[in-house]
Amino acid sequence: MAVSINVKVNGEAHQGSVESNQLLVYYIRESLGLTGTHIGCDTSSCGACTVLVNGKAVKSCTMLAAQADGTDITTIEGLADGNGLHPVQDAFWEKHGLQCGFCTPGMIITAVDLLDRNPDPSEHEIREALEGNLCRCTGYQNIVKAVQYAAQKIKC
Protein backbone atom coordinates (compact mmCIF):
# COMPACT_ATOMS: atom_id res chain seq x y z
CA MET A 1 0.00 0.00 0.00
CA ALA A 2 1.42 3.39 -1.00
CA VAL A 3 1.41 6.18 1.55
CA SER A 4 2.05 9.79 0.67
CA ILE A 5 4.50 11.59 2.97
CA ASN A 6 5.99 15.04 3.36
CA VAL A 7 9.20 15.30 5.34
CA LYS A 8 11.90 17.87 5.81
CA VAL A 9 15.34 16.25 5.72
CA ASN A 10 18.38 18.37 6.53
CA GLY A 11 16.30 21.47 5.87
CA GLU A 12 15.06 20.34 2.47
CA ALA A 13 11.41 19.49 1.91
CA HIS A 14 10.66 16.13 0.29
CA GLN A 15 7.34 14.87 -0.93
CA GLY A 16 7.10 11.23 -1.81
CA SER A 17 5.17 8.03 -1.93
CA VAL A 18 6.41 5.18 0.24
CA GLU A 19 5.25 1.63 0.74
CA SER A 20 3.48 1.26 4.07
CA ASN A 21 6.07 -1.29 5.24
CA GLN A 22 9.09 0.76 4.19
CA LEU A 23 11.36 1.58 7.12
CA LEU A 24 12.59 5.12 7.54
CA VAL A 25 16.24 4.11 7.16
CA TYR A 26 15.58 2.66 3.71
CA TYR A 27 13.70 5.78 2.67
CA ILE A 28 16.65 7.93 3.79
CA ARG A 29 19.30 5.75 2.14
CA GLU A 30 17.60 4.49 -0.99
CA SER A 31 14.97 7.08 -1.86
CA LEU A 32 16.92 10.15 -0.79
CA GLY A 33 20.42 8.73 -1.40
CA LEU A 34 21.67 9.85 2.01
CA THR A 35 23.88 6.88 2.77
CA GLY A 36 25.64 8.43 5.76
CA THR A 37 22.96 6.81 7.90
CA HIS A 38 24.05 3.20 8.23
CA ILE A 39 22.23 -0.07 8.70
CA GLY A 40 24.02 -2.24 11.22
CA CYS A 41 22.00 -4.79 13.14
CA ASP A 42 18.56 -3.90 11.74
CA THR A 43 17.11 -4.90 15.12
CA SER A 44 17.18 -1.57 17.05
CA SER A 45 20.24 -2.67 19.01
CA CYS A 46 23.33 -1.09 17.43
CA GLY A 47 22.28 2.52 16.81
CA ALA A 48 24.15 2.91 13.50
CA CYS A 49 20.90 4.09 11.88
CA THR A 50 20.24 6.86 14.43
CA VAL A 51 18.85 10.11 13.03
CA LEU A 52 17.21 13.10 14.68
CA VAL A 53 13.43 13.19 14.25
CA ASN A 54 12.08 16.51 15.47
CA GLY A 55 15.35 16.92 17.37
CA LYS A 56 15.32 13.56 19.14
CA ALA A 57 17.61 10.63 18.43
CA VAL A 58 15.65 7.78 16.87
CA LYS A 59 16.68 4.41 15.44
CA SER A 60 15.44 4.76 11.88
CA CYS A 61 15.39 0.98 11.35
CA THR A 62 12.54 0.83 13.86
CA MET A 63 10.32 3.55 12.46
CA LEU A 64 8.17 3.37 9.36
CA ALA A 65 8.73 6.04 6.75
CA ALA A 66 4.97 6.60 6.95
CA GLN A 67 5.30 7.44 10.66
CA ALA A 68 7.79 10.18 9.78
CA ASP A 69 5.24 12.11 7.72
CA GLY A 70 5.32 15.75 8.75
CA THR A 71 8.54 15.50 10.75
CA ASP A 72 11.82 17.36 10.56
CA ILE A 73 14.71 14.91 10.17
CA THR A 74 18.43 15.53 10.52
CA THR A 75 20.94 12.96 9.30
CA ILE A 76 24.72 13.05 9.65
CA GLU A 77 24.85 14.88 6.31
CA GLY A 78 22.82 17.71 7.77
CA LEU A 79 24.99 18.54 10.77
CA ALA A 80 27.83 20.44 9.12
CA ASP A 81 27.38 24.10 8.32
CA GLY A 82 28.80 24.29 4.82
CA ASN A 83 32.41 23.24 5.10
CA GLY A 84 32.47 23.80 8.84
CA LEU A 85 32.05 20.62 10.84
CA HIS A 86 29.49 20.46 13.64
CA PRO A 87 31.30 20.65 17.01
CA VAL A 88 30.56 16.98 17.69
CA GLN A 89 31.93 15.96 14.29
CA ASP A 90 35.00 18.09 14.91
CA ALA A 91 35.44 16.51 18.33
CA PHE A 92 35.36 12.96 16.90
CA TRP A 93 38.09 14.10 14.45
CA GLU A 94 40.21 15.76 17.12
CA LYS A 95 39.92 12.99 19.70
CA HIS A 96 40.13 10.09 17.25
CA GLY A 97 36.67 8.93 18.24
CA LEU A 98 36.49 6.37 15.45
CA GLN A 99 38.41 3.66 13.74
CA CYS A 100 36.40 2.07 10.93
CA GLY A 101 33.73 4.77 11.12
CA PHE A 102 30.70 2.53 10.66
CA CYS A 103 29.07 3.44 13.98
CA THR A 104 30.17 7.07 13.83
CA PRO A 105 27.10 8.70 12.25
CA GLY A 106 24.86 7.14 14.88
CA MET A 107 27.28 7.95 17.70
CA ILE A 108 27.46 11.59 16.65
CA ILE A 109 23.71 11.99 16.23
CA THR A 110 23.04 10.45 19.64
CA ALA A 111 25.70 12.69 21.19
CA VAL A 112 23.98 15.72 19.64
CA ASP A 113 20.71 14.72 21.35
CA LEU A 114 22.55 14.19 24.66
CA LEU A 115 24.30 17.57 24.56
CA ASP A 116 21.06 19.26 23.56
CA ARG A 117 19.35 18.01 26.73
CA ASN A 118 22.42 17.99 28.98
CA PRO A 119 25.15 20.44 27.90
CA ASP A 120 27.52 19.40 30.69
CA PRO A 121 27.28 15.61 31.04
CA SER A 122 29.50 13.57 33.33
CA GLU A 123 31.50 10.70 31.89
CA HIS A 124 28.90 8.32 33.35
CA GLU A 125 26.05 10.23 31.74
CA ILE A 126 27.82 10.12 28.37
CA ARG A 127 28.30 6.36 28.63
CA GLU A 128 24.65 5.92 29.64
CA ALA A 129 23.43 8.06 26.74
CA LEU A 130 25.50 6.08 24.25
CA GLU A 131 24.42 2.66 25.53
CA GLY A 132 22.24 2.22 22.45
CA ASN A 133 25.17 2.72 20.10
CA LEU A 134 27.60 -0.11 19.59
CA CYS A 135 31.21 0.33 18.43
CA ARG A 136 33.24 -2.77 17.66
CA CYS A 137 36.59 -1.02 17.13
CA THR A 138 37.67 1.57 19.64
CA GLY A 139 36.38 0.40 22.99
CA TYR A 140 34.52 3.68 23.51
CA GLN A 141 37.31 5.52 25.35
CA ASN A 142 37.96 8.06 22.64
CA ILE A 143 34.27 8.33 21.79
CA VAL A 144 33.57 9.44 25.37
CA LYS A 145 36.54 11.84 25.22
CA ALA A 146 35.19 13.26 21.97
CA VAL A 147 31.78 13.95 23.52
CA GLN A 148 33.45 15.59 26.53
CA TYR A 149 35.55 17.71 24.15
CA ALA A 150 32.46 18.65 22.12
CA ALA A 151 30.64 19.70 25.29
CA GLN A 152 33.52 22.01 26.18
CA LYS A 153 33.70 23.46 22.67
CA ILE A 154 29.94 24.11 22.51
CA LYS A 155 30.04 25.90 25.87
CA CYS A 156 32.85 28.24 24.75
Binding site: A57, K59, M63
Partner: protein, 287 residues
Protein backbone atom coordinates in the same frame (compact mmCIF):
# COMPACT_ATOMS: atom_id res chain seq x y z
CA UNK B 1 14.45 -7.19 7.55
CA UNK B 2 11.24 -5.83 6.12
CA UNK B 3 7.80 -6.34 7.63
CA UNK B 4 5.24 -8.18 5.51
CA UNK B 5 2.93 -5.85 3.61
CA UNK B 6 0.03 -4.29 5.49
CA UNK B 7 -2.54 -1.58 5.01
CA UNK B 8 -1.67 1.60 6.87
CA UNK B 9 -4.37 3.74 8.43
CA UNK B 10 -3.90 6.82 10.53
CA UNK B 11 -6.38 7.71 13.25
CA UNK B 12 -6.75 11.35 14.25
CA UNK B 13 -8.81 10.68 17.38
CA UNK B 14 -9.43 7.90 19.89
CA UNK B 15 -12.97 7.49 18.56
CA UNK B 16 -11.67 7.08 15.02
CA UNK B 17 -9.08 4.53 16.16
CA UNK B 18 -11.79 2.51 17.93
CA UNK B 19 -13.98 2.68 14.82
CA UNK B 20 -11.12 1.53 12.58
CA UNK B 21 -10.40 -1.33 15.01
CA UNK B 22 -14.02 -2.43 14.88
CA UNK B 23 -14.05 -2.27 11.06
CA UNK B 24 -10.90 -4.38 10.84
CA UNK B 25 -12.64 -7.39 12.34
CA UNK B 26 -9.67 -8.32 14.53
CA UNK B 27 -6.95 -8.25 11.84
CA UNK B 28 -5.50 -4.88 12.83
CA UNK B 29 -2.80 -3.88 15.25
CA UNK B 30 -2.44 -0.48 16.87
CA UNK B 31 0.84 1.31 16.08
CA UNK B 32 1.98 3.72 18.79
CA UNK B 33 5.76 4.25 19.17
CA UNK B 34 6.34 1.00 17.32
CA UNK B 35 9.30 -0.10 19.39
CA UNK B 36 7.77 -3.42 20.35
CA UNK B 37 5.52 -3.87 17.31
CA UNK B 38 7.94 -3.06 14.47
CA UNK B 39 10.62 -5.54 15.63
CA UNK B 40 7.83 -8.11 15.94
CA UNK B 41 6.68 -7.37 12.38
CA UNK B 42 10.25 -7.50 11.04
CA UNK B 43 10.73 -10.95 12.53
CA UNK B 44 7.32 -11.89 11.04
CA UNK B 45 6.17 -12.97 14.48
CA UNK B 46 3.07 -10.94 13.69
CA UNK B 47 1.53 -10.31 10.27
CA UNK B 48 -1.48 -8.05 10.80
CA UNK B 49 -3.41 -7.02 7.70
CA UNK B 50 -3.71 -3.47 8.92
CA UNK B 51 -1.78 -1.09 11.15
CA UNK B 52 -3.72 1.74 12.74
CA UNK B 53 -1.24 4.50 13.54
CA UNK B 54 -2.35 6.45 16.61
CA UNK B 55 0.94 8.35 16.89
CA UNK B 56 -0.60 11.73 16.11
CA UNK B 57 -3.49 11.68 18.58
CA UNK B 58 -2.52 14.54 20.86
CA UNK B 59 -5.19 13.73 23.45
CA UNK B 60 -3.22 10.55 24.26
CA UNK B 61 0.02 12.41 24.99
CA UNK B 62 1.30 13.88 28.20
CA UNK B 63 1.18 13.71 31.97
CA UNK B 64 -1.39 15.53 34.09
CA UNK B 65 -2.81 15.41 37.59
CA UNK B 66 -6.42 14.67 38.44
CA UNK B 67 -6.59 15.62 42.10
CA UNK B 68 -3.96 13.39 43.72
CA UNK B 69 -3.90 10.95 40.82
CA UNK B 70 -1.23 11.12 38.11
CA UNK B 71 -2.73 10.54 34.66
CA UNK B 72 -0.28 9.41 31.98
CA UNK B 73 -1.54 9.34 28.41
CA UNK B 74 -0.93 6.13 26.48
CA UNK B 75 1.34 7.84 23.95
CA UNK B 76 3.64 9.37 26.54
CA UNK B 77 7.18 8.23 25.76
CA UNK B 78 9.39 6.44 28.26
CA UNK B 79 11.71 9.45 28.17
CA UNK B 80 8.85 11.78 29.09
CA UNK B 81 7.77 9.48 31.94
CA UNK B 82 11.35 9.16 33.22
CA UNK B 83 12.04 12.89 33.10
CA UNK B 84 8.68 14.10 34.43
CA UNK B 85 9.02 16.11 37.65
CA UNK B 86 5.57 14.92 38.76
CA UNK B 87 6.35 11.23 38.21
CA UNK B 88 9.78 11.52 39.80
CA UNK B 89 8.29 13.17 42.88
CA UNK B 90 5.11 11.14 43.29
CA UNK B 91 5.85 7.77 41.65
CA UNK B 92 9.63 7.42 41.71
CA UNK B 93 9.44 3.69 41.05
CA UNK B 94 7.63 4.33 37.76
CA UNK B 95 10.17 6.99 36.76
CA UNK B 96 12.95 4.53 37.57
CA UNK B 97 11.27 1.79 35.53
CA UNK B 98 10.88 4.13 32.53
CA UNK B 99 14.53 5.19 32.78
CA UNK B 100 15.58 1.53 32.86
CA UNK B 101 13.96 0.70 29.51
CA UNK B 102 16.19 0.12 26.48
CA UNK B 103 18.38 3.07 25.57
CA UNK B 104 17.98 6.76 24.88
CA UNK B 105 16.72 6.27 21.31
CA UNK B 106 14.22 3.61 22.38
CA UNK B 107 12.96 5.81 25.22
CA UNK B 108 12.50 8.67 22.75
CA UNK B 109 10.01 6.60 20.75
CA UNK B 110 8.55 3.84 22.89
CA UNK B 111 5.34 4.64 24.77
CA UNK B 112 3.93 3.55 28.11
CA UNK B 113 0.68 2.38 26.52
CA UNK B 114 2.47 0.37 23.86
CA UNK B 115 4.77 -1.27 26.38
CA UNK B 116 1.89 -2.21 28.67
CA UNK B 117 -0.30 -3.79 25.99
CA UNK B 118 2.71 -5.64 24.58
CA UNK B 119 3.12 -7.22 28.05
CA UNK B 120 6.60 -8.56 27.50
CA UNK B 121 7.41 -10.63 30.60
CA UNK B 122 10.84 -8.95 30.76
CA UNK B 123 9.47 -5.40 30.44
CA UNK B 124 10.12 -2.88 33.21
CA UNK B 125 6.79 -1.12 33.77
CA UNK B 126 4.63 -4.02 34.99
CA UNK B 127 6.18 -4.39 38.46
CA UNK B 128 5.83 -0.66 39.15
CA UNK B 129 2.30 -0.58 37.74
CA UNK B 130 1.32 -3.45 40.05
CA UNK B 131 3.07 -2.01 43.12
CA UNK B 132 1.45 1.38 42.49
CA UNK B 133 -2.00 -0.25 42.17
CA UNK B 134 -2.43 1.75 38.98
CA UNK B 135 -5.57 1.73 36.89
CA UNK B 136 -5.45 1.17 33.15
CA UNK B 137 -8.06 3.03 31.11
CA UNK B 138 -9.17 1.39 27.87
CA UNK B 139 -11.72 2.49 25.32
CA UNK B 140 -13.78 0.24 23.08
CA UNK B 141 -16.96 0.38 21.04
CA UNK B 142 -19.04 0.50 24.22
CA UNK B 143 -17.10 3.33 25.78
CA UNK B 144 -14.38 3.56 28.35
CA UNK B 145 -13.61 1.17 31.20
CA UNK B 146 -10.96 0.99 33.88
CA UNK B 147 -8.96 -2.14 34.65
CA UNK B 148 -7.10 -2.47 37.97
CA UNK B 149 -3.44 -3.33 37.47
CA UNK B 150 -3.99 -6.60 39.34
CA UNK B 151 -6.39 -7.74 36.59
CA UNK B 152 -4.45 -6.36 33.64
CA UNK B 153 -1.58 -8.79 32.95
CA UNK B 154 -3.07 -12.16 32.04
CA UNK B 155 -0.28 -14.15 30.39
CA UNK B 156 2.87 -13.75 28.29
CA UNK B 157 2.01 -10.97 25.81
CA UNK B 158 -1.65 -11.12 26.88
CA UNK B 159 -3.53 -8.38 28.73
CA UNK B 160 -7.11 -7.55 29.58
CA UNK B 161 -7.30 -5.20 26.57
CA UNK B 162 -9.63 -6.79 24.04
CA UNK B 163 -9.08 -6.82 20.26
CA UNK B 164 -11.54 -3.99 19.76
CA UNK B 165 -10.16 -1.84 22.56
CA UNK B 166 -7.45 0.80 22.84
CA UNK B 167 -5.43 1.61 25.96
CA UNK B 168 -5.81 5.36 26.48
CA UNK B 169 -4.28 6.21 29.86
CA UNK B 170 -2.65 4.96 33.03
CA UNK B 171 -3.81 6.40 36.36
CA UNK B 172 -1.39 6.28 39.29
CA UNK B 173 -3.04 6.90 42.66
CA UNK B 174 -1.32 9.03 45.27
CA UNK B 175 0.66 7.23 47.93
CA UNK B 176 0.65 8.10 51.61
CA UNK B 177 3.25 10.55 52.92
CA UNK B 178 6.34 8.72 54.14
CA UNK B 179 6.21 6.10 51.42
CA UNK B 180 9.42 4.79 49.92
CA UNK B 181 9.02 3.69 46.33
CA UNK B 182 11.70 2.01 44.23
CA UNK B 183 12.26 -0.14 41.15
CA UNK B 184 15.49 -2.09 40.82
CA UNK B 185 16.45 -4.46 38.04
CA UNK B 186 19.08 -6.95 37.00
CA UNK B 187 19.36 -6.24 33.29
CA UNK B 188 20.34 -8.77 30.69
CA UNK B 189 23.83 -7.51 29.79
CA UNK B 190 23.17 -7.84 26.06
CA UNK B 191 19.55 -6.80 25.59
CA UNK B 192 18.98 -4.63 28.64
CA UNK B 193 15.66 -6.38 29.32
CA UNK B 194 14.92 -7.23 32.94
CA UNK B 195 16.14 -10.67 33.95
CA UNK B 196 14.50 -9.75 37.24
CA UNK B 197 12.94 -6.41 38.18
CA UNK B 198 11.44 -5.62 41.58
CA UNK B 199 9.24 -2.69 42.56
CA UNK B 200 8.63 -2.04 46.23
CA UNK B 201 6.44 0.53 47.97
CA UNK B 202 6.69 0.75 51.76
CA UNK B 203 5.00 3.28 54.05
CA UNK B 204 6.54 3.74 57.50
CA UNK B 205 3.71 4.23 59.98
CA UNK B 206 4.72 4.66 63.62
CA UNK B 207 8.02 2.91 62.91
CA UNK B 208 6.34 -0.08 61.30
CA UNK B 209 6.18 -1.13 57.67
CA UNK B 210 2.66 -0.65 56.32
CA UNK B 211 0.98 -0.62 52.93
CA UNK B 212 3.75 -2.83 51.60
CA UNK B 213 3.46 -3.63 47.93
CA UNK B 214 6.14 -5.73 46.25
CA UNK B 215 5.91 -6.81 42.61
CA UNK B 216 8.17 -8.49 40.09
CA UNK B 217 8.65 -8.65 36.35
CA UNK B 218 11.06 -10.88 34.50
CA UNK B 219 10.78 -13.75 36.96
CA UNK B 220 7.91 -15.66 35.37
CA UNK B 221 5.73 -15.25 32.31
CA UNK B 222 3.46 -12.70 33.97
CA UNK B 223 4.35 -9.88 36.32
CA UNK B 224 2.98 -10.49 39.82
CA UNK B 225 2.49 -9.06 43.30
CA UNK B 226 4.30 -11.12 45.90
CA UNK B 227 1.92 -11.47 48.85
CA UNK B 228 4.31 -13.68 50.81
CA UNK B 229 6.98 -10.99 50.88
CA UNK B 230 4.43 -8.26 51.62
CA UNK B 231 2.92 -10.19 54.53
CA UNK B 232 6.32 -11.09 55.96
CA UNK B 233 7.56 -7.51 56.16
CA UNK B 234 4.30 -5.81 57.13
CA UNK B 235 4.24 -4.75 60.78
CA UNK B 236 7.97 -5.16 61.26
CA UNK B 237 10.39 -2.31 61.82
CA UNK B 238 11.96 -2.97 58.44
CA UNK B 239 15.33 -3.75 59.98
CA UNK B 240 17.84 -5.93 58.19
CA UNK B 241 16.75 -9.17 59.84
CA UNK B 242 13.10 -8.57 58.90
CA UNK B 243 14.02 -7.71 55.33
CA UNK B 244 16.25 -10.75 54.93
CA UNK B 245 13.48 -13.00 56.26
CA UNK B 246 10.85 -11.43 54.00
CA UNK B 247 13.07 -11.56 50.93
CA UNK B 248 13.55 -15.29 51.44
CA UNK B 249 9.87 -15.70 50.53
CA UNK B 250 10.27 -13.98 47.17
CA UNK B 251 9.13 -15.89 44.12
CA UNK B 252 7.72 -18.79 46.14
CA UNK B 253 5.43 -20.90 43.99
CA UNK B 254 6.31 -19.06 40.80
CA UNK B 255 6.99 -20.91 37.55
CA UNK B 256 10.28 -19.12 36.85
CA UNK B 257 11.38 -18.57 33.27
CA UNK B 258 14.56 -20.12 31.94
CA UNK B 259 16.65 -19.02 28.97
CA UNK B 260 20.22 -19.13 27.69
CA UNK B 261 21.27 -16.32 30.03
CA UNK B 262 19.48 -17.21 33.25
CA UNK B 263 18.15 -20.55 34.44
CA UNK B 264 14.95 -20.78 36.46
CA UNK B 265 17.05 -21.44 39.57
CA UNK B 266 19.12 -18.30 38.97
CA UNK B 267 15.98 -16.22 38.45
CA UNK B 268 14.50 -17.57 41.68
CA UNK B 269 17.71 -16.60 43.46
CA UNK B 270 17.73 -13.14 41.88
CA UNK B 271 14.14 -12.58 42.98
CA UNK B 272 15.24 -12.97 46.61
CA UNK B 273 18.31 -10.76 46.10
CA UNK B 274 16.25 -8.02 44.45
CA UNK B 275 13.46 -8.27 47.01
CA UNK B 276 16.07 -7.60 49.69
CA UNK B 277 17.64 -4.70 47.82
CA UNK B 278 14.31 -3.13 46.87
CA UNK B 279 12.87 -3.42 50.39
CA UNK B 280 16.05 -2.00 51.90
CA UNK B 281 15.97 0.95 49.53
CA UNK B 282 12.21 1.52 49.99
CA UNK B 283 12.44 1.47 53.80
CA UNK B 284 15.36 3.88 53.66
CA UNK B 285 13.48 6.20 51.31
CA UNK B 286 10.40 6.06 53.55
CA UNK B 287 12.26 6.85 56.75
Amino acid sequence: MIPAAFDYQRASSVDEAVTLLAESGGDAKILAGGHSLIPTLKLRLARPETLIDIGRIDELKGISEDGDTIVIGALTTHDDVASSDVVQAKAPNLAAAAAAIGDLQVRNCGTIGGALVHADPAADYPAAILADEAEIVVQGPNGSRTVPAADFFLDIFVTAVQEDELLTAVRIPARAPGTGSVYLKFPNPASGYAVVGCAANVTMDGGKCANVRVAFNGVSGVAFRDADVEDAITGTSGDEAAIVAAAECAGNGQDCMSDTFASAEFRAHLAKVYAKRALTAAVKAAS
